[in-house]
């Protein structure tokens, strides 16, 4: 897919790998290349996500968004370049280590604990934040952990699920599962939240409620990366937008600027759509 | 030295053949139906007992009392007349002598019916359920089948004689131009090996060259797409389960002269066959066959006294050891596809 899209000029001049990361940048994707055999899935990706901002990465299907996400969370090793989160290189780290550094993730299809209650779903990540990656905590009962319980209930109240706290998480609707997953990420107070197509496969109604929820979170100033191919979702949320096409960054800037960029329109209209 | 190695190679072949045949069926079922079948060893055992049952039928006797003659204890003499020989004469005697290979004819339809009944009656309800539940239900089924056989045929092994003409040994060494009588090999084991090659060849040819086989292979690769083409893949898979049962059954029939069957036979072979499947690569038919022979041969080498002197007890654990190493270093097995059940 990537090869069929005409390669556009990179929007920014190539930054040398040794560039010093500015103070207010939380995540720095520094000069990342990723090749699969002969396929250049990612080329010259240099991305700086600023503290407290919502940074959207958009692009038509096959633009390399998923590959970039997998490189960021360390699941794929870049062919060259590095991903630096808050001074730590993420490449090669295990998912739980990355989470413990303060990166939480929302999946395309909500990943929740279907067999546990809604409340337990939210308490579990709170334990991960308090107790770390592993702790044998088997002599107190869950019920006695009042602090964590109250925190989880407040979180559920925030996302509007407190009424269903005793329900089986597997029985929730798609939209409610997404809310639950968001609550599970937010209770960890992550420094960076990754959202992978948070409204994919949702009905119009669920999409709108999810956008409302994301707007509500936005006011708290948490740094977020949203990966989307639906532009509509992004323009109402993002502070800054990076447009990918054919594995390259073709535009980057404020929503208004990106919306009017002819290269972006070409990529969307002339590319996959 | 060369003779020793060659002999051990041969010694591993008959067990390897049995492993390969069972593992082939296991893989076929896993690849087509996605079911982990712990009852597959029981099918091998049922096949073996088809041979036992057939021989019992052939050797049924009528007992008549002859009042004109007296036994040494003064009672009327019992005259036993084998029914088959009474009906067919000398041909009956030949039938009895060759009961094991002839019982294949009985085993094929019986195993087909058992296999199809098993799939339609029980296994089909478990396609969508987790592997753990598949293991559990087929494990339960294996117990039931073994216990039915125990209730019918008793708990003790029942030896099955091989045909008198096939009892000798073949001078393999001479065949390969070595000195005569250096390497001899029991004829029946050789027959078993050749037989298993024929079956394996037949299964592969069936999958390779028939339309039916092509559809099944396509279904193994991507069930959904084949289903979308409007092909009734489920019915074909049912038949494949029947075929896997027949293969296991035939393997069991022909194995009876080598090892007197009893009701635990199935589980004894199943555990090893699973290891074989894992070593070969879950879902890979050539892998299952190759690993079957490989492990049979390895086992035979490990039981050499020279080897045991270096590593005591290695013959007891070699197969499992190989499985552990393979699972840890190369979870998809020797010939498995990438991503197939790699977890």
């Amino acid at each position: 897919m990537q090869t069929t899209i005409p390669t556009a000029q990179p929007a920014q001049p190539k930054a040398p790998a040794a560039t010093k990361t500015p103070e207010n940048v939380v995540l720095h994707v520094a000069d990342v290349h990723k090749r699969f055999g002969g396929l250049h899935a990612l080329a010259d990706i240099d991305l700086q996500v600023e503290e407290g901002k919502t940074h959207a990465i958009i692009g038509p299907n096959g633009a390399g968004k998923s590959t970039l996400l997998n490189v960021i969370i360390g699941r794929l090793a870049p062919t060259s370049g590095a991903v630096v989160f808050d001074g730590t290189i993420l490449t090669g780290k295990k998912p739980h280590e990355i989470n413990q550094l303060g990166v939480a993730r929302v999946f395309q299809t909500p990943e929740i604990f279907a067999d546990l209650s809604v409340l337990q779903n939210v308490m579990t990540p709170a334990f991960a934040r308090r107790d770390g990656a592993f702790r044998i905590n088997m002599f107190r009962s869950v019920e006695s952990e009042a602090e964590i319980r109250d925190e989880a209930l407040a979180m559920l109240d925030d996302v509007g699920l407190v009424g269903r706290r005793e329900a089986h998480a597997g029985a929730l609707s798609r939209g409610d599962k997404r809310r639950l997953e968001l609550a599970m990420c937010l209770i960890q107070k992550p420094r960076l939240l990754l959202l992978d197509e948070p409204t994919a496969g949702m009905s119009r109604h669920d999409t709108n409620t999810t956008i409302e929820l994301l707007k509500k979170i936005k006011s708290r100033g948490m740094t977020k990366i949203i990966i989307e191919h639906d532009m509509h979702v992004v323009f109402s949320l993002a502070d800054k937008i990076t447009v990918l096409a054919g594995g390259r960054i073709i535009a980057e800037g404020l929503p208004e600027a990106v919306r009017g960029d002819p290269r972006v329109q070409e990529a969307y209209l002339g590319g996959a759509h | 030295m060369f003779e020793v190695i060659f002999l051990q190679l041969l010694n591993g072949l008959d067990k390897g053949s049995a492993y390969a045949l069972i593992a082939l069926g296991l893989t076929l079922v896993f690849g087509t139906l996605g079911v982990v079948n712990f009852a597959h060893g029981a099918l091998f055992m049922l096949g073996a007992f088809c041979a036992v049952a057939f021989r019992r039928l052939l050797t049924l006797e009528t007992v008549t009392l002859d009042p004109t003659r007296l036994s040494p204890w003064g009672q009327p003499l019992e005259v036993r007349a084998p029914v088959v020989q009474a009906w067919f004469g000398d041909f009956g005697a030949v039938l009895v002598n060759y009961s094991v290979p002839i019982s294949l004819l009985l085993a094929i339809p019986v195993m087909l019916i058992i296999g199809v009944a098993m799939e339609r009656g029980l296994i089909k309800h478990f396609y969508k359920r987790p592997h753990a539940e598949q293991i559990l239900v087929t494990f339960g089924l294996a117990i039931v089948l073994a216990e039915i056989v125990k209730a019918t045929f008793g708990p003790n092994p029942i030896p099955q004689p091989m045909p008198t003409d096939l009892r000798g040994a073949a001078d393999i060494g001479a065949f390969f131009g070595m000195q005569a009588n250096v390497i001899t090999y029991p004829l029946w084991r050789l027959i078993y090996f050749v037989f298993s090659l024929l079956i394996i060849g037949a299964v592969f040819a069936f999958l390779q060259f028939t339309t039916f086989g092509m559809v099944v292979r396509a279904g193994m690769a991507d069930r959904e797409t084949v289903g979308l083409l409007g092909i009734d893949i489920d019915r074909r898979f049912t038949i494949m389960f029947g075929i896997a049962a027949v293969v296991a059954g035939m393997a069991g029939v022909m194995y009876t002269p080598l090892l007197p069957p009893n009701y635990t036979l199935g589980m004894d072979f199943l555990v090893i066959s699973f290891v074989v499947v894992v070593v070969g690569g879950m879902g890979s038919l050539p892998g299952a066959v190759a690993a079957g022979f490989l492990l049979g041969i390895l086992q035979s080498f490990a039981s050499m006294t020279q080897v045991k002197a270096i590593v005591p007890g290695i013959d007891q654990i070699i197969i499992y050891l190989v499985a552990v190493v393979i699972l840890l270093l190369r979870p998809r097995g020797l010939l498995g596809r990438r991503g197939m059940m790699e977890a």
Binding site: I112, F127, M138, R140 | V137, I143, Q316, I317, Y320, L327
Partner: protein
């Protein structure tokens, strides 16, 4: 107290304890009130609870748990032979050895999940079994099994007492552990095990294990290193199997390799599934039912059966006896297999799920009843 145990848990625990300790009376109507059988109830209850801590909470299906049971038996027997006839050091020794063994096997096996984990554990158990019968004969005494002998060193005992003249038997600081003493001794361990399982299930640690069963991927992305969690569960589970194995040797001083066979591993799976995976009481219930019917059914013979069917006319009675005799006595495993298949097909949650379904039906009927009353009530109020 509230932070320690909730009211509901206290009631459950004391209810369970009461049932266990009163078993010698409660089991009388069932003809099961003799120490030998009840002791096996306790031992296999411990085994099943331990197995459930792994399978029920984390979802990892081990098909080799009998190996830990067997290791526990051998370890306890060696303690009887080398150290003392006192059961306490034997049990401690057995639990430690089984734990070390489980740590090693779990460390390797838990690198894989699903069916591969099952096969790995099965492979390790078969290796242990085969080795116990062959090269390890000096330790296991092979097919004959390991027994205590008068000539054993028993260094601790020799320090304090004269060398015995009679066949030594396990004891507890001089108290005999045969008969009912042995039952109560084992019962205490069952209660302790039940208590531990309860604590684990209700603790954050237990919730993590359930999270692993439900969605391991989410656990990882939530910041948990799942491997040490599953390994801890595996080791606890193996130690409890070792405890059960040791207790069996205390009551019946013979350790044999047969207890390590895959059939024995399969049996504990059956017990847990039959009673109810992931529940507290279920595994114990499953163990008791299987051990009870094993005992009762295997003692049935044609005479008992024909007495049972004596109400039938002659011909029908013979048929009934012939058919049913296939399912009892030696054929008891056939019944067990059939019941097991039916349970997995129709009631995957085991007996406990059945109980819950019936209870739900009743309470639903109850709620319907009250709802109807309420619907009628306003009219009356008007």
């Amino acid at each position: 107290m509230t932070t320690f145990m909730s009211r509901r848990d206290l009631i459950l625990f004391f209810g369970f304890a009461a049932v266990v300790l009163l078993l010698p009376i409660l089991a009388q109507p069932f003809g099961a009130a003799y120490p030998d059988l009840l002791q096996r109830f306790m031992i296999f209850g411990i085994f099943a609870i331990g197995f459930n801590i792994l399978f029920g909470l984390t979802g990892y299906l081990s098909f080799g748990h009998a190996a830990f049971f067997g290791v526990g038996s051998y370890a306890a027997m060696w303690s009887f032979k080398l150290l003392s006839t006192n059961a306490l050091p034997a049990i401690i020794f057995a639990v430690v050895i089984a734990g070390v063994f489980a740590l090693a096997i779990g460390f390797v096996s838990l690198r894989r999940s699903g069916i591969y984990f099952s096969i790995l554990t099965l492979a390790f158990a078969q290796m242990s079994y085969n080795l116990a019968y062959s090269v390890l004969t000096p330790i296991t005494n092979g097919e004959t099994g390991l027994r205590m002998a008068i000539a054993d060193p028993r260094v601790l005992d020799r320090l304090f007492f004269e060398a015995p003249v009679a066949q030594p038997v396990p004891s507890l600081f001089g108290f005999s552990l045969s008969g009912w003493n042995g039952f109560f001794f084992s019962a205490i361990f069952l209660l302790a095990t039940f208590f531990l399982a309860m604590r684990i299930t209700n603790s954050p640690f237990g919730m993590m294990l359930k999270g692993i069963k439900s969605n391991q991927n989410r656990m990882n992305y939530t910041g948990f290193n799942t491997r040490p969690y599953t390994l801890t569960a595996f080791v606890i589970s193996g130690m409890l199997a070792g405890l059960a194995g040791a207790l069996l040797v205390v009551t019946d001083p013979l350790a044999g390799a047969e207890r390590m066979r895959w059939t024995a591993s399969g049996e504990v799976v059956l017990m847990t599934i039959l009673g109810g995976v992931g529940t507290l009481v279920g595994p114990v219930l499953g163990a008791w039912i299987i051990k009870y019917f094993e005992n009762i059914f295997s003692s049935f013979n044609d005479n008992i059966l024909s007495a049972f069917f004596s109400f039938l006319p002659e011909g029908a009675r013979e048929i009934a006896v012939t058919v049913s005799s296939k399912f009892v006595g030696d054929g008891w495993h056939l019944t067990l297999g059939l019941v097991f298949v039916l349970i997995v097909v129709f009631l995957p949650g085991g007996i406990m799920e059945g109980v819950r379904r019936i209870a739900a039906r009743f309470s639903k009927a109850d709620r319907d009843g009250t709802a109807r009353e309420r619907r009628l009530a306003p009219k009356a109020a008007e």
